[in-house]
């Protein structure tokens, strides 16, 4: 598949990205834009630009991998409305290797593996699989071609047996009847290959622990005779000793010549199991085929975070000391977060950095009253907050993480979305005042530079950034004192990000307190006056933004399990 992409013109000779545009570009911090350095000190390969064959270009049997190149992606592009999820991805996977994909949330890893799995279809670029152009129309087609994907949320049918799950969709049948005995036998063979002959093929999957379910997923992949298995954060659901077992299984697979694409946030796992690493950022490959064991952590991290033009932050105001507006004390929810205490003052932006699953979104929703706290208190202006209705009435607003499913009525016009929290205030004796709402919404739209400005258009038609402005605008209409922002720039294209940052900054100027959660560390550091770092449900560090840097935060956020592990390893020794 060689669909021409808008990026086709970008040859290595192209001007550096920073010149791409305009005033914002000039005000950008001087380039830490490392993305185009040609080599790293470790000899890993630099980013390959459009059209280039990944080096070493000495043909498919080039020497540094264990086997032949089975999969090659060149300049793959995938756009969604308003977002360029993949923006020129290069990837090369060899038979029998564990190829790690590294990248922050939103870097495009999920889109990439879904493209390989036939869920999404690339808009441009080239994918070759076993030397042939490859464009799976459906997940089944990808499976048949020998690419199996194991998602984080395992797609097993809980009430079917292990064997039935392994052969789901290509059951062993005769005259339309499933052959239970032979299916069970084949499943047993596959499970032995995976080193787990003890799993009974006829047990319902429901009764297996998470690790067992993962093995069934892998058995399904092998039942298809997969030559490449993609694993999306397989260790996320596993306990420590189960991870060891997973690694043993993966090693068993690679020794049979099967290639594995391994996605994880945990660097130490990549070190242990990976052969080579490809780093993604903002839908682009920023480094390819780095040696997994020897590339320094700092290098990997900087390639994931390399600052580019998108992080254009308005100048920081001098912080002024004021009485806190929001006081959270000892807030806990079982299994989500524990003993969280924090404050936000009027006009202050407080940022929380943490990975998905660190409890940050749950904390935010609990502060807002959308989840009930097990213990602890939330007070706003000295008044207890116990539920969403009360939070809103007292002047709290929230832009939730999942904009589409949690914040917007996509088919309704912009103005009705903006007034969703305040239309009762416009109404007279229960009758809505659409004209008044429209006028107010237009004013807010101007303030936020919403495009298009026509507030009667359905929100569905807006780009991600403008949709986010609508959500933020909702709370501007409502005299909000404290705004909770959960991943405010997720799915927002880079142009609109700068504008959103300005909006957030302006809100703070006006005295609104902002509590911000983001997976993108630079965003937290660039916007916030104060930074909280969350890991595994706890706030582990608090510091004024100027006193902490990105790498420190990332170390805190990511190497959590490394730390735990070293403690564990330290004990018996």
């Amino acid at each position: 598949m060689t669909i021409p992409t808008p990026r086709d013109g970008h040859a290595p000779a192209d001007p550096p990205p920073t010149t791409a545009s305009s005033a914002t570009a000039e005000s950008a911090p001087p380039a830490e834009t490392m993305t185009r350095s040609d080599t790293t000190e470790n000899g890993g390969l630099a980013l390959k630009t459009g059209g280039d064959v990944p080096a070493p270009p000495a043909g498919d049997d080039g020497g540094d991998g264990p086997g032949d190149v089975v999969l090659r992606l060149t300049d793959v592009v995938k756009t969604f409305p308003g977002v360029r999820a993949l923006d020129g991805v290069q990837l090369e996977v060899r038979a029998g290797e564990v190829h790690c994909l590294l990248g922050q949330n939103g870097a495009g890893k999920s889109t990439l593996i879904k493209t390989l799995a036939g869920v999404h279809h690339a808009d441009g670029g080239e994918i070759t699989w076993l030397g042939q152009p490859f464009a799976p129309a459906t997940p089944q087609a990808a499976m048949r071609a020998g690419i199996a994907t194991i998602y984080q949320e395992l797609d097993l049918v809980d009430d079917l047996s292990v064997a039935e799950n392994a052969f789901l969709g290509h059951e062993d049948t005769r005259f339309g009847f499933t052959r239970r005995r032979s299916t069970a036998q084949k499943t047993r063979e596959i499970l032995s290959r995976l080193g787990h002959p003890e799993i009974p093929p006829r047990t319902a999957v429901r009764d297996l622990p998470a690790a067992g379910k993962q093995i069934v997923s892998m058995a399904r992949a092998l039942s298809h005779d997969a030559k490449l298995i993609v694993m999306d954060e397989p260790s996320a659901v596993l306990a420590h000793d189960e991870v060891e077992n997973l690694f043993r299984i993966i090693q068993g697979l690679t020794s049979q010549g099967i290639a594995v694409i391994y996605i994880s946030h945990r660097l130490e796992e990549i070190r242990e199991i990976g052969d080579r690493v490809t780093v993604l950022k903002d839908g682009r490959t920023t480094a390819a085929n780095l040696p997994a064991r020897t590339t320094p952590t700092r290098d990997l991290v900087s390639r994931m975070t390399g600052r580019t033009i998108e992080y254009v932050f308005p100048p920081r105001r001098p912080a002024e000391k004021r009485e806190p507006l929001l006081v959270v004390e000892g807030l806990s929810r079982k299994g989500e977060f524990a003993d969280a205490s924090l404050t936000v003052a009027p006009g202050e932006i407080v940022g929380i950095a943490g990975l998905v699953g660190s409890g940050r979104s749950e904390l935010l929703e609990t502060i807002f009253g959308a989840r009930r706290a097990d213990s602890g208190t939330v007070t706003l202006d000295g008044q207890r907050i116990t539920g969403v209705g009360r939070a809103v009435r007292k002047g709290m607003g929230m832009a939730p993480e999942e904009r589409k499913s949690q914040a917007l009525l996509l088919d309704e016009p912009i103005y009705k979305n903006m007034t969703l929290a305040s239309f009762s205030g416009f109404a007279k004796v229960g009758f809505t005042d659409a004209g008044g709402e429209r006028k107010a919404a237009e004013k807010t739209a101007d303030l936020l530079e919403l495009r298009p400005r026509d507030v009667t258009r359905p929100v569905r038609t807006l780009s991600g950034g403008n949709q986010q402005k609508v959500v933020v605008g909702r709370w501007l209409l409502d005299d909000t004192k404290l705004l909770l922002l959960d991943e405010p720039t997720r799915g927002v294209d880079v142009g609109a990000r700068a504008e959103l940052y300005q909006v957030i900054q302006d809100l703070a100027e006006r005295g609104v307190g902002v509590l911000l959660v983001s997976s993108e560390v630079p965003e937290v550091l660039g916007l916030a006056d104060r930074v909280l770092v969350m890991r595994e449900g706890r706030i582990i560090r608090e510091a004024p933004a100027p006193e902490i840097d990105e790498d420190t935060v990332l170390d805190l956020v990511m190497s959590g399990s490394l730390t735990t592990e070293s403690i564990l390893e330290g004990e018996p020794a």
Binding site: A25, G88, R284, A370, K416, G430, T432, R460, T461, G495
Partner: protein, 338 residues
Amino acid sequence: MTTQTAPPEAPTKPERRKLDENALRNLGLVGVLILLIIVGIITKPDLYSDPTWVKNNFLTILQQASAIGVVTVGMTFVIIGGGIDLSVGAIVAIAGVWSTTLATQSYGAGGMIFTAIIVGTVVGLINGVLIAYGKLVSFIATLAMMVAARGLAAQISGKQTQISTNSTINDIASTRPLGIPLLVWILAVVVIAGWVLLNRTTFGRRTVAVGGNPEAARLAGINVKRHTMLLFALSGLCCGIAAIMLTSQATSAQAAMANLYELDAIAAAIIGGTLLSGGRGTIVGALFGVLVFSTITNLFAINNLPTEVQNMVKGGIIVAAVLIQQFRFQSLTQLFKR
């Protein structure tokens, strides 16, 4: 690469498109109505040549649509609000039966009307509490209520047909202010009130928000549970009104009355453009949906065609309406995808 180009904007004029979509669907339903009438004229020219009969026929169609029309208005609210009410027929029956017991009849027409409306609203409220606060799926809760309310109605009536001896009640069905049946006036009032409630009040706005995206509504500070409960109470209220209308038409009530009204009401709401998943729908469309069914019944009656065929045609129209809705929706989303 990070260019500052504006985000890819979706095609323009979508709001107009949406308005057009509603108008277009209603226009389509009017087209279907006209088509059905033309078929009537062609197949029964002798009847249609008599202007008095024609006028009477239209009034009959409207009158036969009135009770189910009132129920459909309530159903439309529930569906837009993201629920479904399978108990409407049973609520009509329990309200009708309760309001025609000898004891209730002794309170006179006012007592009967009051009873029907209170019983309908309270049963709807019970549905609402079970669904909103008991966290039952509305399909299950109202299915249970459907069975239970008919059971209670049978219990109260002793399985008898309870005749209404109240001439005021019985006269509702035969009174014709300004030449138009009172039942049709009631339907008109309920439809207009429903339209205003949905399109011009905070209640309506909440209904769309709760049905369109309950989580967004909740996080915007809307009391989703209370509103859900009120929606089912509203449906019950409509059933109470319909119970009186139907009692007056049949001059009696019994536990088996308003049989399968739930299906007719849901079907009418859906062919009127109400999205079964909630968040979208129109009262006018639902009214047209009811009228289409009523006109089909009329067309089949004047041609003495068997009701089996009539039911098949009804089913076909439901499927066709939903298919058309889907195709239009798909073409819209494809435009945005590109």
